[in-house]
C-alpha cells in the first residue's frame, strides 16, 4: 500500500512495503489516493484496460468486480444506481470518464505526466510494491539485551507510574550483587555469537542501589576481553538524588543515560512528586543540568511523559531545550482509560497539532544554537533497521528480558511480576519456551490490525506490554498508541524529506 499524507504544508507518499518515500505534488497525491481506493488491486491499478490477463487470473473475483463497475461507470449508468452507490462512487472518485471531462488541457498534461512517473516507480518496485512472502526468522534462543531492575524502591511517587511507585506491587527491595552477577552470567551464557550485549539499569530508581550497579559493571567489564564480548550499559534515573559520584560513574561507564524530567516546572511537579508529596523538579533539574555539562558529546536523553494535564506538550519539549538539553523525548502516558491522566481519542487533534508544531520548530532550529534532537523524529532511511528487526520490535521475552531483584525473569520491565508471563529465573537458567514462543510469534505479520497500516515497519507492531496491560492481550491493539505512533512517524518522515 502507499500512504499519502500532508505534513508541514507539503504532501508525501510512503510505500510501506519497500520503505520508499516521496514528496509529491497535489496531482500525484490525488492519483495515488485514487489508486489506493478499494477498487484498485495490489499495484494500485484500477483502469480496466490496464489489467492484463495474468492479473485477472490471479485475482479473478476482484478483477471481474472492478471491471464490471468501471464499465458501468464509463457508460454513464450513474442514474441506475442507488443513492448509496452513487455516494460511494463520488467519494472514491475513481471514474476516469467524469474526472477527465472537467480538466483543462494543462491539468490533463500534468495528469498524464504524473501517471507516467508513477508507472516508472511501480516498475522499479518503489510504489505499490508487494510484501515479502518469506517466513519470519525462527527464534534461535539468543538473548542479547537485559533490563536489570536493580531496585524496586523509588524516591518519587509519580502519578502515572506503571511500576506502582517502583515496587511493581510487591515488596520494595533492592537487587543483591549475587543476583545481578547471576543475571550477567545468564545473559552471557545465552548470547550465542552476539558480540554487543546490552544491560539497562532500571527500577524503581537505580541510584538507590548504586553500589550494586557499580559492582555489576565492574564484574561485566572483567568478562569482556576473555569472552570477546562488549557490554553496552545504560541507566534510567529520575536524577532526584543523583550524587556527583553517581554522575561521574554514569558518565564514565554508561553508553546512554536516560533522565526523566517532564518539562515545565508546574507540569513536572503536578505528577512527579516525592514520597513526602512535594515537587521533585528543582532537585531533578539541578542534577540533570550538572550531568548534562559533564556529559559533553556522549549519548544521553532527557525523557518526559505527557498526560491529559499537558496536552500542549510541545511547550514542555521546548522547555527542556531551554534548560540546556539537546537530546529529548516526550512519551505519551500509558494508562487505563478510566485514569484521569489517560489520553483520550478526543485529545488526538490537539496532540497531532503539537507534534506538527514541534516538527516545525525542530526544522526552524536546525543549524542554530537552539538545535535539538527529538527521539521520535529520528529516522535513518538510508541505514535503518533490516526487515527482521522491523517485524518484532524489542524482542521482549526472547532477545530481550528483564530481571527482578529476586532473580525472576520476565519479558521486559513492564511485565515484571506478571505471573502469566514469568519466564523463569537466572539461577536455574531455564526459561519457559511456551511463553517465549507466544511472544516471538506475535510479530507484525501475525497481527491483523497491522496489515493495512503504513507504519507497521516503523513501529513493528507496537509494545506487547501496552497491549497486554491496556488492550487485554499481547496480540491486541492499543488503539490510541497506534494513532500517536502514526502521527509521530509522519512528522519524522516529513522532517527527513525537508531537511
Amino acid at each position: 500500500m502507499v500512504h499519502t499524507f500532508g505534513c508541514l504544508g507539503r504532501y508525501f507518499a510512503l510505500d510501506s512495503e519497500s520503505g520508499s518515500l516521496f514528496e509529491v505534488d497535489e496531482t500525484a497525491k490525488q492519483i495515488i489516493d485514487s489508486r489506493n481506493s478499494s477498487f484498485a488491486d495490489a499495484e494500485g491499478s484500477f483502469f480496466a484496460e490496464r489489467e492484463t490477463d495474468a492479473r485477472a487470473e490471479r485475482k479473478p473475483n476482484a478483477y471481474a468486480e472492478t471491471e464490471t463497475r468501471l464499465n458501468a461507470c464509463a457508460v454513464g449508468e450513474f442514474k441506475a444506481r442507488t443513492d448509496a452507490e452513487q455516494t460511494a462512487y463520488a467519494e472514491t472518485k475513481i471514474c476516469p470518464q467524469t474526472e477527465r471531462q472537467v480538466r483543462t488541457d494543462a491539468q490533463q498534461t500534468a495528469y498524464a505526466e504524473t501517471e507516467a512517473e508513477i508507472e516508472a516507480l511501480i516498475s522499479e518496485g518503489a510504489l505499490f510494491s508487494r510484501g515479502s512472502a518469506a517466513a519470519p526468522r525462527a527464534y534461535g534462543g539468543v538473548i542479547k539485551s537485559m533490563c536489570l531492575n536493580v531496585s524496586h524502591r523509588c524516591n518519587l511517587r509519580c502519578a502515572y507510574c506503571f511500576a506502582g511507585g517502583g515496587s511493581y506491587g510487591s515488596d520494595a527491595e533492592n537487587m543483591s550483587f549475587d543476583v545481578a552477577k547471576r543475571a550477567v552470567d545468564f545473559l552471557v551464557q545465552n548470547s550465542g555469537a552476539r558480540k554487543v550485549l546490552e544491560v539497562d539499569f532500571f527500577g524503581g530508581e537505580p541510584t538507590l542501589n548504586l553500589d550494586v550497579v557499580q559492582k555489576t559493571v565492574e564484574y561485566a567489564r572483567g568478562l569482556e576481553r576473555p569472552l570477546n564480548k562488549t557490554f553496552r550499559f545504560t541507566v534510567t534515573t529520575n536524577a532526584y538524588a543523583l550524587s556527583d559520584a553517581a554522575a561521574d560513574f554514569f558518565n564514565g561507564e554508561m553508553h546512554n543515560v536516560v533522565i526523566s524530567i517532564d518539562g515545565r516546572k508546574d507540569v513536572h511537579n503536578r505528577v512527579r512528586k516525592t514520597a513526602a508529596g512535594g515537587g521533585s523538579f528543582d532537585n531533578a533539574l539541578k542534577n540533570a543540568a550538572k550531568f548534562r555539562r559533564l556529559r559533553g558529546d556522549k549519548q544521553y536523553y532527557v525523557r518526559g511523559t505527557y498526560t491529559r494535564q499537558n496536552l500542549d506538550f510541545a511547550a514542555d519539549a521546548l522547555a527542556l531545550v531551554d534548560y540546556g538539553f539537546d537530546k529529548i523525548s516526550l512519551e505519551p502516558v500509558v494508562l487505563p482509560d478510566s485514569h484521569p491522566l489517560a489520553l483520550r481519542f478526543d485529545d488526538l487533534p490537539a496532540l497531532f497539532g503539537q507534534y506538527e508544531l514541534l516538527a516545525a520548530e525542530y526544522l526552524k532550529r536546525l543549524g542554530t544554537d537552539g538545535e535539538f534532537l527529538f527521539f521520535h523524529f529520528n529516522v535513518d532511511l538510508a541505514g535503518g533497521p533490516c526487515e527482521d528487526k522491523r517485524l518484532r520490535s524489542c524482542g521482549a521475552g526472547c532477545e530481550y528480558v528483564a530481571v527482578t531483584p529476586s532473580g525472576d525473569v520476565y519479558p521486559c520491565h513492564q511485565f515484571a511480576l506478571d505471573a502469566e508471563f514469568r519466564l523463569g529465573d537466572v539461577f536455574s537458567g531455564r526459561l519457559d519456551s511456551a511463553v517465549q514462543g507466544r511472544l516471538w510469534s506475535n510479530d507484525v505479520t501475525n497481527k491483523p490490525h497491522c496489515q493495512g497500516c503504513f507504519a507497521k515497519y516503523f513501529c513493528s507492531g507496537g509494545c506487547a506490554a501496552n497491549s497486554r496491560n491496556l488492550a487485554g492481550g499481547i496480540e491486541r491493539q492499543h488503539k490510541i498508541s497506534c494513532e500517536l505512533m502514526r502521527k509521530r512517524i509522519e512528522c519524522a518522515l516529513a522532517i527527513t524529506s525537508i531537511k
Binding site: K195, H376, A382, C463
Partner: protein, 56 residues
C-alpha cells in the same frame, strides 16, 4: 521527475541476510514505554543491510 521527488527508494530489504541482531534493543534507548524501530540504525559492521547503492 516533475511531480514526484524521491527522498529514499527501496530502503527495506527483504529476506536473507537480515537479522544479525547486533543493533540496540529498541526499548533500551529512550522510551521504555513504547516501541519504535524505525528510528534506529543498522549496526552491522561490515555491510549495512539497508543501504542500496542508489540511495542518497
Amino acid at each position: 521527475m516533475k511531480h514526484i521527488r524521491t527522498v529514499a527508494k527501496n530502503t527495506i530489504r527483504r529476506g536473507a541476510g537480515t537479522g544479525c541482531g547486533e543493533c540496540q534493543s529498541s526499548c533500551q534507548s529512550a522510551c521504555k514505554t513504547s516501541c519504535t524501530v524505525g528510528n534506529q540504525s543498522c549496526e552491522r559492521i561490515d555491510v549495512k543491510i539497508n543501504r542500496p547503492s542508489d540511495l542518497k
